[in-house]
Symmetry: C2
Subunit: 211 residues, 2 copies
DNA sequence: ATTTCCATGTAATGAGTTACATGATTGC
DNA sequence: GCAATCATGTAACTCATTACATGGAAAT
């Protein structure tokens, strides 16, 4: 069976901020909950149709300029708001985690510590940027949006990201330190490189199975 | 276009631990990188076929007992090992994040602080269990698997999880504190409840759009 | 008695992204 | 002149889970 469709509620939720077009919704996703949730056009437009046919949103057509598609502005209906409030108390189901960085580090022996360090450093750089963006958003939420009753909640989701980011920056340092200590040894044998034989594979040893 | 298939390499990587059946591979996924990567049978079996047809793994059939399916044990070939090593240096592409908890908190005003607190507490409980499991794994890695050359790398991925878990536990406490402060006020108006009118939707106020 | 484990695999279903099509306007 | 923005939408495609089918043995 399918895991219940959360995208519907994400769209519904965005519409609590006010009437919007599908195009706008996508922009709000990027600007707001972008670090923990996003939707593409391929999702948004069909979902809006479905929501309208169920009476959860209402569509109004705005004829803007000739020669280009008319804006279709969607408004949350009372039933739509109720659907959102009905969904909110539902327990969250954890999404299956997939972390490519960790996957690569898990098999890191076959690339060696230096390569792992490259990945970790890249990750660290990205985290620093994220951290900076978070700081901007925090500033905005604490100053410009002080009156907004949503701000408290949005700040909470931001704090989540900030906590995680700080923790991961610590982890990066720790890992880089670990990796630098195991630098020369513990490298998986790669005779091919040394001999400069190009494509020939190096001898592969077989570890025994874990319990 | 498709984002390159990481599952293939996940399977390839597991096979560096030794020859295994598809069934085994799934078990190893659960026991090992389970907190950041998993694969289902529906992925594993077709992938093994594909890998075999590409010469990256070799299949050997073990006739165990009559009346039940024969074990098919897969072994990494040299080319398979090479494919893995070719993939390892590739930069990781970040997966689009999806966090249902944060999505609900983001729209938390419509459920109120008490409801948000319920979600956070649930999350905290789950994190504590995770933390405990991590401690077990850490103990195992530091004692029983000391000789294993993979242990260093696996420990790194574990530390990642531990850092995140600790950070999120902190965040939970912080958030619960915030929520308890905004307990009585800041509740979105819900006249329907008070009047006991059941399904009639409460008046919904329209916040203005965020930039 | 009933569940879990072993062990394979397929079919149905769904979630979600990306690329394309269209075409005027605004900014660099 | 070139790219981005506005604004809609669809079709093709990938990724992945889940349920089903089979059926004996061992564990609780």
């Amino acid at each position: 069976m399918a895991r219940s469709n959360k995208s519907r509620f994400a769209v519904l939720g965005i519409l609590t901020f006010g009437p919007m077009s599908g195009y706008d919704i996508r922009k709000v996703f990027r600007a707001g909950p972008g670090h923990f949730w996003q939707e593409s056009y391929g999702q948004i437009y069909p979902i809006l149709r479905a929501l309208e046919s169920e009476g959860l949103v209402e569509r109004r057509i705005e004829h803007t300029q000739e020669g280009r598609p008319p804006r279709k502005v969607y408004t949350l209906t009372n039933r739509g708001g109720q659907a959102l409030r009905d969904w909110l108390p539902e327990p969250t189901e954890p999404q299956p985690p997939r972390n490519e960085l960790l996957l690569k580090l898990f098999f890191g022996r076959h690339g060696g510590p230096q390569l792992c360090a490259v990945h970790v450093r890249r990750s660290r750089d990205a985290l620093r940027e994220t951290d900076a963006r978070y700081a901007d958003i925090e500033h905005m939420l604490r100053t410009h949006c002080k009156d907004d009753p949503d701000a408290v909640y949005q700040l909470m989701t931001l704090r989540y990201g900030q906590h995680v980011t700080k923790a991961l920056l610590d982890w990066c340092e720790e890992s880089l330190s670990t990796l630098s200590k195991s630098l020369p040894k513990a490298r998986v044998p790669s005779r091919a490189e040394k001999a400069g034989v190009g494509k020939r594979a190096a001898g592969r040893r077989q570890a025994d199975r874990r319990p």
